[in-house]
């Protein structure tokens, strides 16, 4: 493993470094837990790493709350998500996804931005943020700020909508609805073991229910089931207006079918396509049980 490294200390220096390297081969290093693994196995010649860890900018590494919701800097770590009580209370799906990510040691350094930009179909935090209808905010070397919905962020396996002259700067999660009384929010990760596991199938859901017990907003997404994390829009729409506790067996199955329609899993070393579909169907139904 051999590469050059640039250590910008400010956002201005960071954008300057990106601009300077436009014609070269470069990668961003956030927590570097995935990147170093990859480079140890497959070293790349003439590669420069832009090290994001030393950039001092609270908008890039901190958390900010407002009436509109919550904004996480791209360098916010999984550990910081896990120990944040407000995230656990308002967006449990995000808490659970971060808590089930890899191991204690990895979570100390792994970042939200890294999890998104790696764009793995089985990205845990990515899956939760899709269910939460988050917005990705990019900074460009031209000084332009661009926002896109996370559903448009993932283009394919390990491919995102970020331009070569852009950096993922932050992720905004919209606040829960004012009329929301109860939140059913969780992340179900199926793997062959409990720790250090890459999901065989994952399901993230964030369902908001009003005082009458009626579902007013729903976000459901699936991981490790298609080339990207996918938002199961029809399944979400299906739930709106229904009473959460009165969903019938038939409706549960109909919901699970709709979730499944977004899945096109592959057969690989961890599971077969058939197994992934069966599991996804069953865990989709289990949300209501």
């Amino acid at each position: 493993m051999n590469f050059e490294i640039i250590n910008p200390g400010t956002t201005k220096e960071l954008l300057g470094a990106v601009n300077k390297l436009q014609k070269e081969k470069f990668r961003f290093g956030a927590g570097c837990t995935d990147l170093l693994m990859e480079l140890k196995k497959k070293p790349e010649d003439g590669l420069t790493i832009i090290n994001l860890s030393q950039v001092k900018d609270s908008s890039f590494s901190g958390i900010k709350k407002s009436a509109k919701g919550m904004r996480l800097g791209a360098m916010f770590t999984a550990h910081k998500i896990v120990v944040n009580e407000e995230i656990k209370n308002a967006f449990n799906v995000l808490h659970e996804s971060a808590h089930n990510l890899a191991s204690t040691q990895i979570r100390q350094v792994a970042t939200v931005g890294g999890n998104l930009c790696t764009a793995s179909p089985s990205g845990d935090i990515a899956c939760a943020l899709v269910a939460l209808d988050a917005t990705c905010e990019m900074l460009s070397t031209t000084g332009k700020r661009r926002e896109i919905n996370i559903k448009e962020f993932f283009i394919g396996v390990r491919t995102t909508a970020i331009g070569k002259n852009e950096v993922l700067y932050g992720i905004a999660v919209p606040a829960n609805e004012k009329k929301t009384k109860t939140i059913h929010s969780n992340f179900i990760k199926i793997g062959t073991r409990r720790s250090m596991e890459c999901s065989v199938v994952s399901l993230a859901y964030h369902i908001q229910v009003n005082e009458e017990g009626v579902i007013i907003k729903a976000g459901v997404s699936i991981g490790a089931s298609a080339p990207t994390v996918r938002f199961a829009e029809e399944a979400c729409d299906f739930l709106i207006g229904k009473k959460f506790k009165a969903i019938s067996q038939k409706e549960k199955e109909e919901f699970a079918e709709k979730v499944l329609s977004y899945a096109s899993p592959i057969t690989d070393i961890r599971a077969t396509s058939w197994y992934r579909k069966e599991v996804l169907f069953n865990i989709s139904k289990s949300i209501f049980e």
Partner: protein, 175 residues
């Protein structure tokens, strides 16, 4: 004859606290903390196990956070404080309570995972003491047995079957 490619290697100067003492060194950008500690600074207590962040044998503390030193860029310890197993006890001949508890519980067999285990347990104790732990569990002052197992999920041991390691951590909180 193949022309030998000469690459100019850029070195980075870093300065950090290692087990309480200031260290200055000049390293390659691609050096990971584990190699810096073991090869350059000759602290062999930190073990190189899998080298890919799975086993936790290389766990050290960077500003009190337990990290896999095999996946941590050495340039990123600049200005920070690193604690390895060599710096856990304070040097007066006494073991650190974490080490003491591992020994008393019979939690050490071949010993290869022990440095990493000890550092992870130390980090867990510090995080519970400072309130920097997962919210809403076990009345918040001490972890349950399940929570200890969850915390130590990134440390593999192939000898003990973990029971005595978890025992040793549990005793630290019950005292």
């Amino acid at each position: 004859m193949k022309k030998e490619k000469i690459n100019k290697v850029i070195k980075h100067d870093i300065s950090f606290k290692l087990n309480g003492k200031k260290v200055d060194c000049s390293i390659k950008g691609s050096t990971v903390l584990l190699d810096l500690l073991r090869d350059d600074l000759e602290l062999k207590g930190t073990k190189a196990g899998c080298n890919e962040g799975e086993c936790g044998a290389c766990t050290v503390l960077v500003d009190d956070a337990p990290v896999n030193s095999c996946l941590y860029l050495a340039v990123n310890v600049n200005g920070k404080s690193v604690t390895t197993i060599e710096g856990l006890a304070n040097g007066d001949g006494e073991l650190h309570p974490v080490q003491e508890s591992l020994v008393k519980s019979g939690a050490v067999q071949c010993g290869f995972c022990t440095s990493g285990m000890a550092m992870a347990i130390k980090a867990m104790v510090s995080q519970y003491e400072s309130g920097q732990h997962v919210p809403g569990e076990s009345g918040n002052n001490f972890p349950s047995r399940e929570e200890i197992k969850k915390y130590l999920e990134g440390n593999l041991c192939r000898c003990t079957g973990y029971v005595k390691i978890v025992d040793s951590a549990e005793k630290l909180f019950s005292n």
